[in-house]
Structure formats: C-alpha cells, structure tokens
Amino acid sequence: MEQLEQKLKEEIITALNLSEMKPDNIDVNAPLFVDGLGLDSIDALELTVLLEKKYGLRIQTSEEGKKVLYSVKSMAEFIRSNNKG
C-alpha cells in the first residue's frame, strides 16, 4: 500500500464521517460513488474541497471531476501528476 493512498483513505473517512469504516475496508481501485462506497453528489463536493484544502489542487471541469474522483487510486494519481504527493 503506497503511503499517499493510505493517507487519502484516512482523509476521506474523516471528511465524509465514515466512522464505521476503516482504511483497510476501502479498495483503492473500487469506485467511490454508487457501486463502491456508495457516496453521492454532496460527498463529491466534500472531496473536491478536500483536494483543494489539503493539496492545493482544483478540479477544473465536471468531466475531470468524474475521472479524478472515480477511486482512491485516481485521486492519488491526480495528486502525483500535479507533483503534490
């Protein structure tokens, strides 16, 4: 498990109040929305704020948002590709 992915999981749990969940319960490749963790549009906003607050990264378009927020792995890749990881 890479350090950034682990850190992201912990931040997601805190930001979304997933108190019943442990980082190990989150599959880095699984979709965060609908089928996977079952997150919704408000969670998408919370994750967008998280990326901007913690990593200084802004998602520019809704299409980019869909790709970046697909999974923990895609979020980590977005952070790394912007040299913030």
């Binding site: 979304l16 109040n17 997933l18 019943e20 079952g38 408000i42």
Partner: protein, 350 residues
C-alpha cells in the same frame, strides 16, 4: 379543531426515550448550568451510512420521529411538520466558523446544507421517501404551537389523515456562551432538580426533541386529545395574561396545569400571580427542572401531559404541592419565554 395524539417519542435530558415517557426515577444533574439530552444508540434506528452527515439535533429528531411513527403504526404520514426556535445550531456554527476561518473560500457543503431550520423535517421525509406536505416553523417559542396548529388545520380540512408533528432545539457550547452573555442563565451551577427553589435571575439551559403522531380519530393506544392551542405575544401586563387564560380554558377549568416555571425570579412572578388567581385551587406541576429552558420546551410538557392522561399517573418530581388522588381529565400546559411568547395547550383524556 381537535386532534388525537396517537404516538409520542421524546429525547430529553430524562430517560424519556428508552425508559417510559413519564419519569419514575428522575435524572438529577449536579453542578450544572445546562442540561444535555440522553441520546439513544442511533445505529439501532438509522443506517450509519445515512446518519454519518447528520449533526446531533438531526439524529435526535429523526430518531424520535421514527420511534413515534413506529409506536403509532404509521409508515408514511400524511404530513411532516416541525417547529424549532433556532434550528440546526451546531451546523450553523460550523458553517459560520468555516466562513470566517477560510476567508469565505473552500466551504464544506454539508454544514451549509444542513444549517437550515427545515433539515430535520426534510431528513425524515427523505428517509421515509414521503412526498407529502412538509413544513417547518421557526417562530422562536411559538414554533411548536405553530406546527401543531398547522397539523390540526390539515386534519380539520381533510388534507391529511394523520400528521407527524415534532419540535426540537439543541444547545451547543457556542450558543450557550452567546446566550450567557445576554444573561439568560444562572451565574452559579446548580442541581437541576432544585431549579424551582433556586431563586435569583436566570435559569438553566436545556434541549430536546419530541414528536407527536396526530390524527382525527382515536385509536386504542391514543394518549390524549388536543383541544386548544393559543398564543399571546408580549401581553401588556398580568391582567391581559389572566384574561387570555380565561379565554383559553373556556367554561371549565382544567383539572391540572403544567407550568413553565424556570427558577428565574423575574419571570416566574407571572406564574406565581396566576397560581394565586386564574389557577387558584388548581393543582400545578412544573417541568423545566427536568429538561431545561429552550424555545420548544413546551413539547416536553405536552408529552408529559399526554403521558399523565394515558397512564393516569402524576410523576412526583413534577408536583409543586398537594394533589388529589384522582388524575383529572383536562390538563393545561402553560408556558412563557421571558414573558414575551406565552402559549397554552389544552389536552383532554380520550
């Protein structure tokens, strides 16, 4: 207009939710200036994935509503109406703090969305998938009464067969600090059960969530019948209050009154004068030592009144003097908030 109370659930600083509605062993708190609710295990009622975003007052409200519906055997109410003086204070505080701390940028959406007064009524509707009438009254100490009147009107005009009415308010450290500066609370910490004799200025803060399932027809488990709900804003003096009380009670005196005595010597004089005159000879109970002062505290009193009428038992801890052995069939809940918002709810056994 009349309505039967066919279900009640109350979360309060007493064991009203998990124990019986009427306190047998009252919960005493030593050295306090504010009472907090005894909260249930929410996961027994709400899926943690659903409740994760809910602040404390939303959880309390939703939980109380679900238990009330369950007790009345209703799955989809004809209307959901709530009353709250200050709404979701915790989320409002979070949102405002975040506006300040982040210089109006990068605001988390959840506290903003949930800081509105109608969040609880909306959350109940979402959970039940109930698309019926949904409304919330934020009318300070008239919030419960406004919600009840709306509910009775819906039943009276036949727009709904049953109505879920709730009232709730929460106390947070920030709200306590602000209202403390306004002189609302006692300077010294006290034991809540001695509130009535505490003397001096101010009272103790409180909070609670109570829900009532109202319907136009009686069931085998009905608690009581609401006969009248009246409000009086800023009476010019005690004479106007007395004359208004006489109008509320109509021809027959209630057999019992439940008063909002809160230990503040300045505003308790209203109750004292009424006990001597308009309520002379009528046994009186009080309740704010059990739940504290908050905008919708009359909901706690209404729950007590309905419980007394159904169980035909008067909790010792609420009595202010000697009582007859027989529980009367009419109870008047009379409360005022700082001698500004006066309300009276008349209930009868059914």
């Amino acid at each position: 207009m009349e309505a039967y109370i066919n279900g009640i659930s109350a979360i309060s600083p007493q064991n009203t939710f998990s124990g019986g509605l009427l306190p047998i062993e009252p919960v005493g708190y030593s050295g306090i200036r504010s009472l907090k609710c005894i909260e249930p295990k929410y996961s027994d009622f709400i899926d943690p994935m659903v409740s994760r975003r809910m602040s404390r007052i939303i959880r309390m409200g939703v939980c109380a509503a679900l238990k009330c519906l369950s007790e009345a055997g209703i799955r989809n109410p004809g209307a959901i109406i709530t009353g709250t003086g200050l709404g979701c204070v915790e989320d409002t505080g979070k949102f405002l703090n975040s506006v300040y701390e982040n210089e109006e940028k990068l605001l988390n959406p959840t506290p903003f969305i949930q800081s509105t007064h109608n969040t609880v009524a909306a959350s109940i509707a979402l959970l039940l998938k109930c698309n019926n009438y949904n409304s919330t009254y934020g009318h300070r100490a008239f919030s419960l009464e406004s919600a009840l009147i709306d509910g009775l009107m819906l039943l009276n005009e036949g727009s709904a067969e049953n109505v879920l009415v709730g009232a709730l308010d929460e106390m947070t450290p920030e709200l306590f600090s602000i209202t403390d500066r306004l002189g609302f609370w006692k300077r010294q910490a006290i034991d809540n059960l001695t509130l009535g004799n505490s003397g001096g200025r101010g009272t103790i803060a409180g909070e609670g969530a109570a829900f009532f399932m109202l319907a136009g027809s009686r069931t085998e488990t009905s608690y009581a019948k609401i006969c009248s709900i009246r409000m009086l804003y800023r009476p010019s003096g005690i004479d106007e209050t007395k004359s208004w009380i006489r109008e509320v009670t109509g021809n027959g005196n209630p057999g019992l009154v439940i008063l909002g005595i809160n230990g503040d010597e300045k505003t308790d004089t209203v109750y004292e004068q009424l006990i001597e005159e308009a309520f002379a000879g009528i046994p009186a109970l009080y309740y704010k030592h059990l739940c504290g002062e908050y905008d919708t505290s009359a909901a706690f009193a209404l729950a007590m009144a309905a419980g007394i009428l159904r169980e035909k038992r008067i909790p010792e801890i609420m009595k202010t003097g000697r009582f007859p052995d027989v529980v009367p069939s009419r109870i008047l809940v009379y409360n005022h908030l700082r001698n500004t918002d006066h309300s009276a709810i008349l209930v009868e056994s059914c």
